[in-house]
Assembly symmetry: C2
Homo-oligomer: 461 residues x 2
Amino acid sequence: MSPNPRPVYRRADLRRLLEPRSIALVGASPSSGSLGRRTLANLHAFQGEIFVVNARHASIDGRKCYAGIADLPEVPDCVVIAVGRDALEPVLAECVAAGVGAAVLYASGYAETGRAEDAAAQARISALAHASGLRIVGPNCVGVARRANALHAAFAEFSPAPTTPGVRIGLVSQSGALGLSLSQAGEHGASIGHVLSCGNACDVDVADFVAYLAEDPDCDVIALTFEGLAAPERLAEAASLAARAGKRVIACPLGVSEAGSEARRFHSGTTSGDPVALGALCAASGIVTIERIESLIETAAFFAKAGPPGRASAAILTGSGGTGVLAADAAARHGVATPQPSATTVARLRAAIPVFGAARNPCDATAQVVRNPESLLECATAMLADPAFGALVIPWGRSQPTSLVAGLRSRAQAAGKPICLVWMSQRLEGPNAEAIEVDPRIALFRSLDACFAALARWGRS
Amino acid sequence: MSPNPRPVYRRADLRRLLEPRSIALVGASPSSGSLGRRTLANLHAFQGEIFVVNARHASIDGRKCYAGIADLPEVPDCVVIAVGRDALEPVLAECVAAGVGAAVLYASGYAETGRAEDAAAQARISALAHASGLRIVGPNCVGVARRANALHAAFAEFSPAPTTPGVRIGLVSQSGALGLSLSQAGEHGASIGHVLSCGNACDVDVADFVAYLAEDPDCDVIALTFEGLAAPERLAEAASLAARAGKRVIACPLGVSEAGSEARRFHSGTTSGDPVALGALCAASGIVTIERIESLIETAAFFAKAGPPGRASAAILTGSGGTGVLAADAAARHGVATPQPSATTVARLRAAIPVFGAARNPCDATAQVVRNPESLLECATAMLADPAFGALVIPWGRSQPTSLVAGLRSRAQAAGKPICLVWMSQRLEGPNAEAIEVDPRIALFRSLDACFAALARWGRS
């Protein structure tokens, strides 16, 4: 792809795509398991009109079929096109002729094959988008979802939203499969408000989605994965919109190694995105980059909960001395300082814990916290009050009462410092994990390393 | 602690502790939540005699109470002592006098406080053990568990064993809290056969437990965490017993950083274990060390499933091009080669996947594998047959039919190469995760990095 100097699309440019009043589905088929029928099922709760276009059937799933876009009772804002690549371009022409606002293209067989004729077909679609003003997502994409309006214009079954909302994460993933895997964090309480996948990105790309989320009031923080960028400067532009809106962008770029970059060329056909240049661009734009995709959602939630950067030093508080040792090791690996508390703090800790505990950093309040959770709150209060620390990390070896989480939340709020609970139990979705996840202030990590990697990026040095 | 030149305890030395015919519980109390009562509840399925010692009660939980060890109808093999430190030494003297085989001491307030008088009390207990032959676990420990005989001589509630057994992991954790957290992997299908915690290790230490597991036929692989070692050469001795038995030892040492080492001194009172010397000892002894404790159990299971080392190069097979790019990046981070397949393999891959896939390494078999799982098996067969690869890695973005896991298992077996499934879904305990976990040949990881870190340590360079 060649650099594309157009400015980033804004929310106003993408509202007919992501906040449509009406959606038409072209290529809906009665055959079970078909992409069209799966999309129709996913749209069941959509808050708007749905039209089905199919010239060979009178109705599908109880919905009347229309012969073409021109036959619909109104011009739909968005058209999801579930037909294969050979039938695609005529449908797009119909969309343009009718004045449709946006189209989502599932069909594969374009730039990703590496064949010149397929790249040429994609270039034709791209040119159509730019000439007409029709905003196009895809081709080779799984669709898009936005929870606030129950838009699920996708054949992929993104996970259901949790009933208790926490900080709302807007997820942008070039790869639909990764978007699907990541969105399943909703199953353990993460509040994924959007899943936006752009596949080959012949028109709308990840930068446009980031810009949309920057301006969407139903999003608190942006989580991003991408392989290549047609125009890296657009990502910088989108990041500056996000910064203006007070939203952090957390990115896990793909294809940063030689082997990965080579694989990327065969997947999305993108070759841009030299890792060094990309890293510099992200740093300059305030984008937080991470290496390990399994930490993307929890890192994004942390940044939304943590608020403005504080001191890059952590107090560690545990009910298990061994876990404190582990946590100190992990902090050191990520360059997060773990200084000793002041004499005043030590005295407060000493008063709260048994003599066989450790009134220092890391603080070992010992297993007696199981019987006496108040002592853990006292230690937390003392450590949060100490100016030596920018944040408090509590490795959580077993389930604790939710009242304790509420107690910690009020102390984090009062101190204006983040508290990170690190879920050490291998009972990964065990009792109370979700209660912590949905908490508006307490961040949950499932790895000490993920926690300290995030704190290292959050803190001021 | 000073170096202790005694040889490592073997299975024969620890059978009265871990395979006792009878157990006595001293300090059992009727008060709910007490350590004694929790221990009694945990022992409900124990396959042997249980005696309760308490001079102030006639019975507890329907069990007759005896006034002292000397009053029991037989000499118990093992005595669990749930009394506090002030009452402890007289009970130990009773045990020695009666000829008890082993004692488990819960009481805290010994070397871990850092006070000279507490260290002296621990030294007295240690001397008693060495003089008498009574094997002592603790003090300051949560107890021990061994599934094969339903021994759960601990107040900590280690997770129940899964009903479907996989490779049997013997877990040794100096810290009881970490042992508890790690053992909860049983909740998602990991087969934890032992949880052995030694606390302050005044007599039996982690090296002795490793030696025991090396000789216990109910253990396939050993997972280990520890803070300090009184005599590092004993760990080398235990590791050589494990190697002789064909069992790998996977260790996550604690306190390897300066801050962690300092914290360790305040926790377990151990100061030995210079990280560089320790790393050299582990490398020389064939112990696999890892940094991230959350990968300990899955890494141990991998080594038990993978068999003898093969080529340190991986074939990557996905149904998602983006995931393939990510996997190639992770392999590069850990120095695992991802060479290209032979022309023959490429031809076989090309025949199995669509034109918009990628017949190379990483192989993108595309999302059509959802409808056509056979094509994934064909690609797996082709890549496993290629001598360029020592192992096959399949990132698993969503739940797949269990029949596919069985198909992969037979191919791994036929090729004599390990297959690693990497669970990319954030639905951490989602459908089929457990079916993979308990598979005797297919290893499951919840992180690409954990997978490639393990392969890097497994493969021959």
